[in-house]
Amino acid sequence: MPKHIVRLLALIVVVAIFAFSAKKFLTPDTFYQYGHYRGDAVAEIASKAPKLQGSASCEPCHKKAYAEWTDGIHRKATRKNAIQGVVYKYGPNCEVCHTGPAGNHPSKDAMPLSVEDQVTSITHPEIKVHPANVPGRKLMLTPEEMKGVCLNCHEKMEARPKEQRQIEVASHSGEELCTKCHNPHSPRIIYASLPQSRRGSAQAGKIVAAVCSGCHGAAGMSVNPSWPNLAGQHADFLVDSLKAFKSGVRKNDMMSSIAAGLNEADIRNVAAYFSRFSCGVTGGDKAEAALGKAKAANCAACHSAGGLYGSGAPGVSGIPTWPNLAGQNAEYLASTLRSYQDGSRTHPVMTSVAKTLSDSDIDHLSAYYASMKCK
């Protein structure tokens, strides 16, 4: 055999030996174990630590919120418990709204402000993963952002199944924040108890009320039917009204100047003072009231004791920031509705509601609510 052929063959053999040994050396032992892949990879992938911890992991520290959630509408077993044999878990768990994994906890980014203050002292040393380490990623830091979280699921939208509760933002709440009326852990529960700091002192309010009693009566029953009774009205609504006068959102020759002279504490105190009184029925034309009753079904969604969904005493609002209507002066109620109609007073919901009412509707409704018992 010629020399150059021998050399060539030798070279091929050397390269082949090198290639085979390299493959032998570089291929992991487990590569063909279960197929054309590294067998060890399966266990490696499975060994990653889960980040979402589930709601049960929140319970030990956040007992109150957890209880609200478990008993509330955001945690139902299922509509009718089973659909075609399949039992569905139902409702968002903690990690859906609180920006994901408990592994990222307690983190200021992951918590709404109010909760954050309570949890900064707690540490979860066993969980060190930081799953959402994305710069600038912050959810639920402000109530405004929390509204966005609610609307992720509840904004009225084509393609959403009808069973899903959905709202038209503009007519449902306007600029109001969801949390003003709803407890996000169980949205059907209404925030009836505001923090103590927001409550005024009726004692202190008595001094301020001396100014008011000239028109609104010493016990909150107005001396003139075109002025509102304040007795038994929700303190929160009175506070909001006075603030609206003070800031100029609502305008009234008398009230604007009086409210301008009140400070924050005065407003709370005087509101607390008048809300303590028991209200009286002012009466109203009986025939008109009977007609108004039929029309009032529309108002009951907000202005009844059962709140948004339930039934209850008509004219007594379930939500403290909305006014009680029962026992209010008919004349005042009518003039208020007309002021919504002509735009001299505005409200995201009431403006559009008032525009659907005719003149006689307004008279009937006013008579109806004036004749209702207010307790």
């Binding site: 590569f31 197929g35 892949y37 980040k51 075609q84 569905y88 409702g91 393609a159 959403r160």
Partner: protein, 296 residues
């Protein structure tokens, strides 16, 4: 005519009829044998049920006798599957967000392991308008690529029919992505999911192109392909995948088909379900209820 020419002529005649037919017959027998043998292999794979894609006898035996060492878990006992009840989906995209958190997927609208599409038939139209969270208008609506939300663009138009469809990797019985992977970086495990061994992925993206469902994406930062693996690290610990865990409406159903009482077994048994693009022959393991003709 020379002798040679005559010889050639005779040969040609002999080939042209008797020999040709004979050869044709033999050829057909051979081809038939090959085809039947091939389909016999294919059907054996299906009938065995348990054998993972492209596994030979020795590897199959090995996976039975010597399964991967995962604590309290044996892949021979499970056959995972997912159901999607599109009638219940509200398009909140929490599944997508949870998936990104759980699996550290890039936090933008374009990289995802699971996503949601919106199908809208305008009044009188026979074709659907489809958009997803990656639609520029939806991104503009949230003002950020890291928040996922559908905008309300159909508020003032008349719509005949509209629905959301969550999508994810179908974990096919015959995965195209595994077939094309040159390095063995992606593979189908015995209990169902198709996994990626990121240490072996060279980032060639053949799999991204091969997938008929567009379920794979490429992570430019890590230089590897990414896909849903049904949170393999969760299901092997007895947890649900992240998207199933957070879904507030019960749209996603997950479970073990070996257990006749599991949610997925009941879901498949009690509903009319279908898979996406059955004509591709991939035999998906994600079962849809309530999808429409245009959903692929």
């Amino acid at each position: 005519m020379t002798t040679q020419d005559r010889k050639f002529d005779q040969q040609a005649v002999a080939l042209s009829r008797r020999r040709f037919l004979g050869l044709l017959g033999k050829g057909m027998v051979c081809a038939g044998t090959l085809v039947s043998a091939n389909s016999a292999i294919g059907s054996a794979e299906v009938r065995g049920g348990k054998r993972a894609y492209q596994q030979n006898d020795a590897q199959y035996t090995e996976s039975l006798n010597n399964p991967p060492e995962i604590p309290d878990y044996n892949w021979n006992d499970h056959q995972w599957a997912m159901g999607v009840d599109t009638d219940r989906c509200i398009g909140c995209l929490r599944c997508m967000e949870a998936c990104k958190m759980e699996n550290s997927v890039q936090m933008d609208a374009f990289h995802h392991r699971t996503w949601v599409e919106r199908y809208v038939y305008l009044e009188g139209s026979n074709t659907a308008i489809v958009d997803s969270q990656a639609d520029p208008k939806n991104i503009e609506n949230t003002g950020s690529e890291t928040k996922f939300r559908f905008d309300n663009r159909y508020r003032n138009v008349k719509v005949d029919k509209a629905f959301f469809v969550p999508k994810l990797c179908n974990q096919c019985e015959h995965p195209s992505c595994v077939q094309v992977c040159p390095t063995g970086a992606t593979f189908k495990v015995k209990d169902g999911p198709v996994l990626i061994d990121t240490t072996y992925c060279i980032g060639c993206q053949y799999c991204v192109q091969a997938c008929p469902y567009g379920a794979r994406s490429f992570n430019e930062v890590r230089g590897v392909a990414e896909k849903c693996n049904w949170c393999y690290h969760r299901i092997t610990k007895g947890l649900n995948p992240a998207c199933v865990e957070v879904c507030p409406t019960g749209t996603r159903i997950f479970g073990d088909r070996n257990d006749p009482e599991s949610p997925i077994s009941l879901f498949i048994k009690n509903n009319h379900v279908q898979v996406l693009k059955p004509e591709m022959g991939n035999a998906p393991n994600v079962f849809y209820k309530g999808t429409d003709k245009e959903v692929v």
